[in-house]
Symmetry: D2
């Protein structure tokens, strides 16, 4: 290590090496050459950030097939002091692997993460009709378990490239149902000042509805609609105190430093008994928000100028 | 006149003495003892203000029976440099008067302002079935015209108390259809700094709709609804360039210095291609606006504080 | 007259010959060759229909400069048993006429219907700066009054062609401010079965708002918006019992026999404490309504078929 | 068996005996004394119904802590020919069990269904800080696995009463975080005619949004709001073809044979490119919907009567 080196940054991620989460972390330029800390689960990853052990954690937040990673959504909704600072997309492709010498006809038990299994089930039902599924904590772990005699696994669902890490043979590629499946990851740090807008940003929020009136969800959505802020995600999650009470996980187009988003957040804050700001960050797909003239920053500034002049009596 | 007297203020109003407009002006404490300038019509009254000849003008703006005084609404929408600074209600009651010696059975032609005539028509149709109506520019003028031989008038619809100004006999009282009828007047000055809120205020606006989309009126109304601002008046007036294009005359509960009203006006300004602020002023009926907690000034300040902290990274 | 002639139909209209109302009636093919009954005012025209004296009446309902003819709107809102069966547009152009030999410099008093005077006022203020205005009940009457020595009129605002009816000279043409001004007329009959849609229709309604909740106007407009029904007119008129209570005059695109309009009317009827259906009739401008697929008749029929099958258990 | 016995009905449920699903099935009066078929997973249960092997299947659909059972929601959204015919709530309580003689200090590996584990995790982290979790397919299975030496499990999260089925000792009771936690089950049959309303019903739907416009979710929710239909659940699920495309799982108050619900469904069907009707059935909590007068069946019938009379020309 050189004498005056910058302090190393540490990134936690769901390991081991070879996971999709690692693939997401590889997309982060700032993480190159820093310390990567593989962990066993989401709780550990976020705990590393909360305690300051790691500077950031990469976590899966949504899958185009299975939907929101609810445990991650709930963790972000309830653990204070966290911020999303980046978003990354990783294509979801699976291979079926086994110990060398195994054929499709030899397979009785297939291991794999339940989400991966769900995506590969159609293929497995067709090609290995009498298999049983043994859940694994990660797909890389499923492959590793092939060599754990206690597990009695015959095949594993694993990410492409797994053969570089384990002595396995690939029996089939592209076994997931949807070739366009993708998982959305977010990079989470401790709460810190928000970065600058890039023009293609997303803002993540958690909000609860007031209980005292019908139509509250409509009213909440209008906070965004009246400011021309589109939502890319609206998911409901139980608050947990009793059946029928939900909080909402919201991804909105734009950055909190965009006037229209700030104004929508002010409206949301006044309306909602509880709002959590999870972060404004560049979108993975780099698609700029479409903003009508009436909702751009100039419109907000012009309106403020006008209102000030109206009150001062120098404009009508 | 004392040596160091304050300069006299001049108020224009639809005269002559005895009109409902004069009754409205009598409700203005500041106008007592100042110069009152009777004029012949609305245009003259507003012109006095625009030119600086008068300090303010009292004009009728709405009648609970006949609706908006459209010529006044249109004047306020199109003449720059005017502000509404007060609102006054005058009960509308009418008497039927004639030259001494005239009986109901002698009446062929009844004079009266068209609005007054509309309100008294049911009574006249019943009691003087074969009368004809001759429009007058004011009801006091109608009474005066009884003594103009060129006019050939037999009776006049006039405000109570007219017999104190003219040598007439009251043939019938309370001849208007609705005993609760009332006319709303506004006191108009040149544009000046807006006064302070009283807690029971009204804000008057003119707004045009953007042309490029359906549902624009709904969208405009949502600017108020999402901020919890109730409207007491929404009237459409043709812009005049072609059939089907309207501007809207809006009275909103609250004062432009109330946060929720200011925010609604900012939203309206961004949305609308043309907004005219006509003034924030105490309501004639002194009814305080009902404001939900989510829309009071504290909610606005708290939300701004929260947003600033969120951006600075000292709150979630 | 042939022996077995069809019974003659009678049409009432604001006369005398030469008025804009007569020009509207001339646009009605069915009225050609029938009996035309000139009347003195709106009340007389509608009374002719209510009593069965006339089969229909042509009345002015809106002016592109002055807005709704409120007395006509109020009459349709309160007189039962009437239906609008047609709509007609008449360009509003005015000439200034006088007795032969009169010059502009000789004019002191100008007569004209107040609406016409409003539209010509800018020209008159400029060209005849010191004129006074004497209101007339119609512009044709104003011209006629030139020859009534009691009226002391020097000039009259009148419709083009007036010189064919009266011995007047045209001093100026096109004196109205807006060359595109137009008046909208409707043909009114007694209540009868609604005609068939033409694809370019309009439906006129009167509706009151429920009093028990805020946002009622928004809710009423959503009855139309959720069915994709655009409004071409929304005007508020005082109900008349007290200040601040309004009914709304509504013109909607489409015909009550169009599924989307029928559905919106059903929603409106359930919502509103009072709805008056004034008629579905061909639009004067023959502009077909733009209807999204989701709102056309097929979509309504398909949805009903689906719902029936769902209830019967033969569809999901 | 008596000679003329009714044919036995068969119910599939997630077994083995002792599961919460069995507890839900015990709430079904019609299931008493019929054949109960324990199955290993949701897919098997629904397949039994689709193939006609079973008459109905009891499945978990939502948990007050963990939210929707997404695999069940997705199955109902994609498998045709199914109907929800009943709803049942089962309190979620857990005990920690082990082989006789085991103490808390002996526990290294805890088995349990992932959802159950999530709810007991706080207690486990506190009382058994260094445990590891091994997922099981059901909590009863977790208890059974205590006696499978290959699994190396020390303790299991299981439902109360498990000791009646297995030779286990209860180490702790009430270990779930929320004592009010409840799981919602639905009874699913093949598509059949919808039953009659009970006054306290729920209607389940799946709907996709049209892609061609912003604000589509707001527009969908307004289909319900304008008919006064409250939603008890709105959950988004990825359609699966690409990131950002969602279908919505909707539970609405009321029965498809309630007029307001039928009307909302007609609106939804016209609006949405794909709607699946999953059923109208009595609510587990027997709470009657609150319906404003404007939305009750009478209001719908009255409006239809009025519209018919309006079209026939016998009403205004």
């Amino acid at each position: 290590m050189p004498e005056h080196a910058e302090p190393t940054r540490r990134y936690s991620y769901l390991g081991p090496a070879g996971t999709f989460t690692e693939a997401a972390l590889k997309q982060v330029p700032e993480a190159a050459g820093q310390e990567w800390n593989p962990v066993a689960n989401l709780g550990e990853a976020l705990n590393d950030v909360v305690t300051g052990f790691s500077d950031a954690a990469m976590i899966a937040i949504e899958n185009s097939i299975d939907g929101g990673v609810t445990v991650a959504q709930d963790a972000l909704a309830t653990i204070p002091g966290l911020r999303i600072v980046g978003e990354y997309l990783v294509p979801v492709r699976f291979v079926l692997v086994a110990r060398p010498g195994t054929g499709l006809e030899d397979i009785a038990v297939v291991s794999g993460h339940p989400v991966a299994y769900g995506q590969c089930r159609a293929w497995l039902d067709d090609q290995v009709p009498r298999h049983r599924h043994l859940p694994a904590t990660s797909n890389v772990q499923a492959a590793a378990d092939l060599f754990d005699s206690e597990k009695s696994i015959d095949a594993a669902i694993a990410p492409p490239g797994i053969e570089e890490h384990y002595d396995v043979e690939v029996l089939a590629e592209g076994i997931a149902e949807n070739p366009d499946a993708v998982t959305r990851f977010v990079l989470v740090s401790r709460t810190a000042p928000v970065g600058e807008p890039t023009g293609a940003d997303k803002t993540s929020l958690i909000a609860e509805l007031p209980e005292d009136r019908a139509g509250a969800l409509l009213e909440m959505l209008e906070q965004f609609a009246t400011r021309g802020v589109n939502l890319t995600l609206l998911a409901s999650r139980p608050i947990g105190d009793r059946m029928g009470r939900y909080r909402f996980v919201i991804d909105a187009e734009g950055h909190v430093k965009d006037e229209r988003v700030a104004d929508a957040l002010l409206g949301l804050k006044r309306f909602s008994p509880r709002v959590v700001f999870l972060g404004s960050y560049p979108r993975a797909d780099r698609v700029a928000a479409t903003v009508r003239d009436a909702h751009d920053d100039d419109a907000f500034r012009d309106a403020r100028d006008w209102l000030r002049e109206v009150i001062e009596g120098v404009a009508d």
